[in-house]
């Protein structure tokens, strides 16, 4: 690839088969968004007017009354919760995270208190709100939700993510019904969901997406919902939202990405993703100890991935050692390894540049061939890997 800024910076040219991950630079930003970002950077705007335009574009795409762009989906959660507490009270907004006499409790299912790179409950607490966990990690019921709501409850947060506990949780429809019965607004974290309308249509008061995941916008969070609640969220820019502000470039980029989403060739993209999965199926076919299956996205996004299950005895390598070896070297291939201790990882085809699927296949073949020839099974104790990773965090920037 020519004109690759990673070369200028002396950085490796990462191939992303992990997903739209913040830690990897999220996604391939779509050309109309790149164009909008670059045309905005040398101009001045009435930022209030620009935010209003963005609101209209978000409303148009989501069916909501209004919309707001902030730094990230995480910021959207913080600011939506803040807005649920303050409404449009400008003084209360300046006083956060001191919540004073405001309602300040936020209910969230225990099974939704996930880490997505940071703890989701911390994003709520940043606003000054107090977390009220509902139920247990492994189960939640409507009576637990109803009983956790009181006169001090400002909002309820519901998380849609592949990270949440995916069984025995209150479904969103029930969650909304219970909260609304008690007059509590529902804020939904839909960071990585493709569907821009159905959660709002179910009755959620606020829905938040990442602008830089499937949508292919610049780094940002998109908040949509009722006009009053979105306004209260937007007004947090006069308070705690200032540290999470986006600039002109991100706002116009998100607007362009949302507009492009309308006309995106979804069928063509799925066909290209399928072709990549087929390349990998062929590359892994007949390899001892390797079982490759195509699996649907766990939160029903229109996206399939390849699940690669490794039997270390037969393949001569563990799933995690294979993932580490793929990530090493000058053509790092980063796989989706959040469940690697179960002996599998996933290959996500949705962030590939043309031809990269073949590099992935080559690297898989290379590493599996090497392992097959090894005298011993390559199986580093996983706990050692994890402890070494923890230790390396503290060495930054060295």
């Amino acid at each position: 690839m020519t004109n690759d800024i990673r070369q200028d910076l002396g950085l490796r040219q990462v191939i992303n088969v992990s997903g739209t991950m913040t830690a990897l630079g999220a996604s391939i930003v779509v050309p109309p968004a790149i164009d909008a970002v670059s045309r905005s950077l040398s101009q001045f705007f009435d930022m209030g007017a620009l935010h209003k335009q963005a609101s209209a574009v978000i409303a148009d795409q989501t069916g909501a009354e209004a919309g707001f762009v902030t730094a990230s989906c995480a910021a959207g959660i913080t600011l939506a919760v803040a807005g649920a507490m303050t409404g449009s009270d400008l003084l209360a907004i300046e006083r956060l995270p001191d919540t004073g006499a405001l309602k300040n409790e936020v209910v969230i299912l225990s099974g939704h208190m996930i880490g997505f790179g940071a703890p989701v409950e911390q994003m709520i607490a940043l606003s000054g709100a107090k977390i009220v966990p509902v139920g247990q990690a492994t189960a939640s019921s409507a009576y637990q939700l109803a009983g956790s709501i009181n006169e001090n409850t400002a909002a309820a947060v519901f998380v849609i993510s592949h990270h949440v506990v995916d069984y025995a949780q209150i479904p969103l429809k029930t969650f909304i019904a219970v909260c609304h019965e008690k007059g509590v607004p529902v804020i939904v974290d839909a960071a990585s969901e493709y569907d821009l309308t159905s959660v709002l249509a179910l009755g959620a008061d606020i829905v938040i997406w990442s602008g830089h995941k499937f949508l292919g916008g610049p780094t940002s969070g998109i908040v949509s919902g009722s006009k009053d609640m979105v306004r209260a969220t937007y007004l947090q820019n006069r308070g705690i939202g200032r540290g999470m502000k986006v600039g002109k470039e991100s706002i116009v980029g998100v607007m362009a990405a949302l507009t492009a989403w309308k006309t995106r060739d979804h069928a063509g993209i799925r066909a290209r993703e399928r072709a990549a999965l087929d390349v990998w199926t062929d590359a892994l076919a007949g390899r001892p100890g390797v079982t490759a299956t195509i699996v649907p996205d766990p939160t029903n996004n229109p996206l399939d991935r390849m699940k690669v299950q490794i039997d270390p005895q037969a393949a001569h390598i563990s799933a995690w050692d294979l993932a580490i070896r793929l990530a090493a070297g000058d053509r790092p291939v980063i796989v989706r390894d959040h469940e690697v201790e179960h002996g599998h990882f996933f290959l996500d085809p949705c962030n590939l540049h043309p031809g990269e699927e073949f590099t992935v296949a080559e690297r898989l073949t290379e590493e599996l061939d090497k392992a097959a020839l090894a005298n011993d099974v390559i199986e580093t104790p996983l706990e050692e890997i994890w402890l070494a990773r923890e230790a390396s965090i503290l060495k930054w920037p060295d």
Binding site: S72, A74, Q122, T219
Partner: protein
């Protein structure tokens, strides 16, 4: 904190502030959002200095934190916690790196000359106008930047607020530096102009001052948040 909005008298100097804090083992964080000097505050003993990446530096919307390795590391690691909501993406990091590189080779003298030409143009456009005094003033926090301070007196037929409101309501809208407008003065800042815009500002000033005084000429500032509360309508 270093800013044109801080109290400008009766305050400890930074070296005094640092000495006092360090004597008690307290680290000093300097908010230098809009300061041109990248070395001074660290040299004066600050442990951390924070700059905007998108002000004078001309980078994308961002903040830059510099200082001791241990404190910067601790700042960076907040991305695992409350910093996650404030994260920047690849585009911003690469943009800041490029803007910092470009800063080293920037033609500061050429930029100042262009800015001085704009200031002279505006000063000439205002010369001899009754009730208007225009003088070139240095930046209050010692950045290498002059502005045109415009004092508006009743003899002009305008208040400062009235004049600036007309400038901002026109086509194209001209937004001045009006944070002290209730004191009868505002500034024209020449550091964010595209080529030709200095002439547009001079022309608009001349047009407005030549014309009969409109109804809002003597308007006084009114603080109202009514518009905000209607957003996004």
């Amino acid at each position: 904190m270093v800013a044109h909005t801080t109290i400008a008298y009766g305050m400890l100097t930074l070296p005094e502030f640092v000495a006092t804090c360090h004597a008690k083992g307290v680290p000093v964080i300097v908010d230098a959002a809009s300061e041109y000097d990248f070395r001074r505050f660290i040299a004066e003993g600050a442990d951390l200095v924070v700059y905007s990446g998108h002000k004078f530096l001309g980078g994308p919307t961002s903040g830059i934190v510099a200082g001791s390795k241990a404190l910067v590391r601790a700042g960076y690691l907040q991305n695992r916690g409350l910093g996650r909501a404030m994260k920047v993406g690849k585009e911003t990091i690469a943009g800041v790196i490029a803007a910092l590189d470009a800063w080293e080779g920037r033609d500061h003298a050429g930029i100042r000359a262009t800015e001085q030409a704009a200031l002279c143009l505006w000063q000439n456009a205002l010369a001899g106008r009754s009730g208007i005094e225009a003088r070139i003033t240095p930046d209050p926090t010692n950045n290498p930047l002059d502005r045109l301070e415009i004092r508006v007196m009743p003899a002009s037929g305008f208040t400062a607020y009235g004049l600036t409101s007309i400038l901002s309501a026109g086509t194209p809208p001209i937004m001045v530096r009006g944070h002290q407008v209730e004191q009868g003065l505002f500034w024209l800042d020449p550091c964010n102009l595209h080529p030709g815009e200095a002439d547009i500002v001079a022309t608009r000033l001349g047009e407005i001052l030549d014309a009969p005084r409109p109804a809002q000429a003597m308007a006084v500032p009114a603080k109202s948040s009514a518009g905000l509360l209607k957003w996004p309508d």
